[in-house]
């Protein structure tokens, strides 16, 4: 797939039944620059106007946004609108297959950056590696299996074994529980894939971003129908980081837009807030639109 340009609009809106006194937010909403992705424009619109908006590059190199709003309000909105250009080729499986899973893990342990190996090789808050994860991983990521085939098998395996269902899991769901439930959403599948890869010695990071979805056959694309997405990226000796989307059983291509990566969801939650209010009810709306632009 060749180079593509996208307009990404990500709107988060909270409505409350009583005034909010103050709200503080940490967001990972802006796409990041990568070897295959360029950010052409990016703007952040916040209502009510925040008292403070600061940004920095975080530990993982992500663009991290801090928002502080102390004017009373009952509706709070953050819209991030960006245009990006992605040129993500599919990985060369033959080159990946020159290593087995075991060889790749050993080679990385010897020559890799120790900090990267530790950050993305150890368990993390939402990627605990227990016996069930090891057992699930060992079936697909056998040490003597060619790496490219094994990665493809991991991705198609999760897609096959798990039902895509929203509401079945939460931020507190462990991988062990997920393996019993056999259903979840993209974040869960990304966490599981990361756990499997780390369990066999392959460093894996959680990637947060978007996917341009095709409209239903014959239909117009609906506004707000897209969603935030998450997948996993694995370090390989031959090709560096390779992104795999177990939710859709494929390697990523130019339809995938990266916002941030970390050890798991907790490092890169798109928008997290601490709200001071006596309101009992809040209503959350998230709308994401990924629109193809005239491609160069």
């Amino acid at each position: 797939m060749s180079r593509r340009r996208h307009l990404v609009e990500h709107l988060t809106r909270y409505r409350y039944d009583a005034p909010v006194e103050a709200v503080y937010n940490r967001g990972f909403l802006r796409p990041r620059e990568t070897g295959t992705q360029r950010v052409l424009t990016s703007e952040l619109l916040v209502r009510p106007e925040p008292d403070q908006l600061t940004e920095h590059l975080d530990y993982f190199g992500n663009r991290s946004t801090y928002l502080e709003t102390r004017s009373p309000h009952t509706e709070f909105e953050v819209l991030c609108r960006s245009t990006v250009e992605v040129d993500q080729p599919l990985p060369d499986l033959n080159r990946l297959n020159r290593h087995t899973v075991g060889q790749a893990a050993r080679e990385l342990a010897e020559v890799g950056d120790p900090a990267l190996l530790a950050d993305f090789g150890l368990p993390s808050p939402l990627v605990a590696i227990g016996d069930a994860v090891r057992a699930y991983a060992s079936a697909v990521l056998a040490p003597d299996r060619p790496l490219g085939d094994a990665l493809a098998a991991l991705s198609t395996g999760i897609h096959h074994d798990f039902e895509y269902r929203t509401g079945a899991t939460s931020v507190a769901t462990t991988l062990e529980e997920l393996l019993t439930l056999r259903s979840g959403v993209c974040q869960d599948f990304a966490h599981l894939a990361a756990g499997c890869l780390r369990s066999v010695g392959l460093p894996a990071r959680y990637v947060s971003g978007y996917l341009e979805t095709d409209p239903p056959p014959g239909g117009e694309k609906l506004r707000g129908a897209d969603a935030s997405h998450a997948w996993v990226s694995v370090l390989t000796p031959a090709l560096g980081w390779i992104d795999i989307d177990p939710t859709n059983a494929q390697f990523t291509d130019s339809r995938y837009i990266v916002t941030a990566w970390g050890r798991d969801f907790t490092d890169v939650s798109p928008l997290r807030g601490v709200v001071y209010t006596e309101a009992d009810q809040s209503e959350l709306t998230v709308e994401v639109d990924v629109t193809p632009l005239d491609n160069p």
């Binding site: 993982f60 502080e68 190996l117 950050d119 993209c186």
Partner: protein
Amino acid sequence: MSVQVASGVIDAYRAHPAHSGYDELAGPHGVRPHQSALGETIESLGLSGLLAARAEARGFVVDEGVVYGSPVQRTSRLWNIDPLPVVLDPAEWAQLEAALDQRSRLLDLVLTDLYTDRTLLRRRVIPAAVVLGHPGFVRQADRIGPAHGRHLLLTASDLGRDDSGAWRVISDRPQAPYGAGYAMVTRRIVSRVMAGLHRTSDLARLRGFFHAMTTALLDAAPHHAEQPRVVVLSPGSASETAFDTSFASTMLGFPVAEADDLLTSHGRVWLRAGQRLEPVDVVLRRVEATMSDPLELRGDSQLGIPGLIEAARNGQVTIANPIGAGVLDNPALLGYLEPVAQALLGEAPLLTSPATWWCGSPSALSHVIAHLDQLVIKPLSRGTAPVVYGWELSDRAREGLIARLRAEPWLWCGQEPLELSTAPVVTAEGLEPRRFVLRAFGVAAGAGYTFLPGGLGRVAGTTGERTVTSRLAKDVWIPSQGTRLAPLAPARPRPVVISPPARVAPRVAGRLFGIGGHAERAESTARLVKIADDLAEDYSSRSDSPGALAMASLIQAVVATTGVEPQEWEPRVDYLRRAVLDAGSPGSVGARAEQLVAGAQHVRDLLSVDTWSVFGRLERTLADDLAPDDQLQPLLDDVLESLLAFAGILSQSMVRDSSWAFLDAGGRLERATRTAVLLRQTLSDPAAGDLVAESVLRACESIITHRRRSAAGTGPSEPRESALVLLVRDDTNPRSIAHQLLSLAADLRLIGDETLAGQADSLRERLDSLPLDEPGDWLDRLTDELAGLGARLAARHFVPQATRHLAESFGWGGRS
């Protein structure tokens, strides 16, 4: 040298079977030279003298209310002090200080590297997983450094001796170092208990360390702060180390603040001071890192401030110790400090730790498993798993542990056990050698660090224990070497400013107001019961007499005041006893006293230290079992004496600022309300007898004024009328409602609330309309007005921040 006076205590100590390794007091050749004065004191006191000293120390601990554990949740235990200090040879201490200084400088460099370039990890000087797999490594704190000065402002290390007597580091505790306050209070008590020895020993003083800390914290402020403001961020009076926190804050001269007292706005941290916000430049953090910012770290934390980390990142506030310093509290790190010292300082470490093997390295894991029965197995992160002594394991436990080590080796390390020295502990059977650990405290100063001379000593709970987990404290004495530390000059000049009156946070204001109210409630109830009991003792058998009617009336007032209901057929004296002592009834005198003491725990740093001995006496009085024949009067006198002593402390030793004003206002409003209710209850009826009125005057401490005025003809001679006039509208009577309202108005002006002060004034004006014939409805309306004033005061001054919620969504995902 040996000691000549012989009570034999030391000989018996040296003959103790557990006196076998390195002992602080006596070596193989007798009492160590630098301990000779202590040895002589021990011999001259003898065992009975030593036990008396121990009891005396206990008494001081009780009087000062020195506790460890949560005083609010009533899980606290009294701080436990052995009266014998451990004296360290000053030459040895000087060496140890130099070694600690080097170590602190090293840890500061390590911390800086770990939160910037991580060269130590990339060059594999430290295995990356030792650091990056440790929960104390806070990625959100990456590249947040101080604008100037050191990263690691405060240090605390636990030290112990090996079998040769050399000091070794057991662990570093830089997360939120506590204990210097306990060391100071231990010194204060031991120096009184061992007054003679203390007077003749020229000791290095502890106070200078707190001065150094004050200076270091002020100097750590961001550059923009001309007159830096420091707060001590406390997890609250329910935390285990609340005593140490409030004690240290008093020593340092910085206010204690809890989460509700602080907020971030426009990227800065502010203290909610009255109705204003005052900028905060430095936060001395007593809240664990993961709890300190719910936006970035644990979202369920109620102890932190959202935006704190961002403010630090942008150089708007300095946090000491910085968030993330807890990564140094890591036993596996100890195993790598030698190469780290070479890499960062080009020096060998002067102070080392017992040999440590990090299980994340395969060869170390094999070594640890092969030598399990000789090693101490520790989790990398304190508290995530118990420390295990390999030699104590059953076969099954051993297999279980090995399986855990193999499953997650990077989370564990094995360490050679440290022998530890012994020090004498006073027990009823004589001196006992117990293993001794020293916590040393340091603070960045000048080119290095300065240390609390000595530190906080602790000894094991029994002779057999090889580790020190108890909280039996030892004062550690360093004889002065004649050189006094010159006070450190602050790094930059600070203007001296006459500050406006200190304003307190709404939480603190509410607590102080509550304390004033609790004290008044306890006192007025005790007075009322005292008068009722007096009548009951005299008249309970003569049912129709005026005395019996007065008693009945006063008992009704006790019921209305305490909410404690009399049982049918219950003798009146027994009922009154319950109204005092039944702490289970929230309105009893005992319960009111408990509420007072509990309330005071929340603002410990604002109250004089004398408060606690008064409260100790109050609690002891009320905890006494009263024999059935004992009279209630002496007990009530003791209670009143304690409450008066408390009132005396407040009036004699508190500066008249807004803290005092809130405390006073709480008492004033309460007394006005109580008096109105009592008068309503007893004197509404114009036919109320003279004895009732006189009893009320006695309960309100106004009987003498009444008699004097009525004799001189300057007041009504009829007791009921006199009581109403004296207790409602006489401005000069300190017990009158009018006086309370005038004082309340003055308090409110001190607080800066002219609106409510005006309302208190106009309420005072209305008192002149008191109808003497039928005052019942009028008094009811007055009570309502007072309650309304109290509610408006709370709504204007005690409002906490709104309830905090975490907003985050999870559970979506594109599937094409």
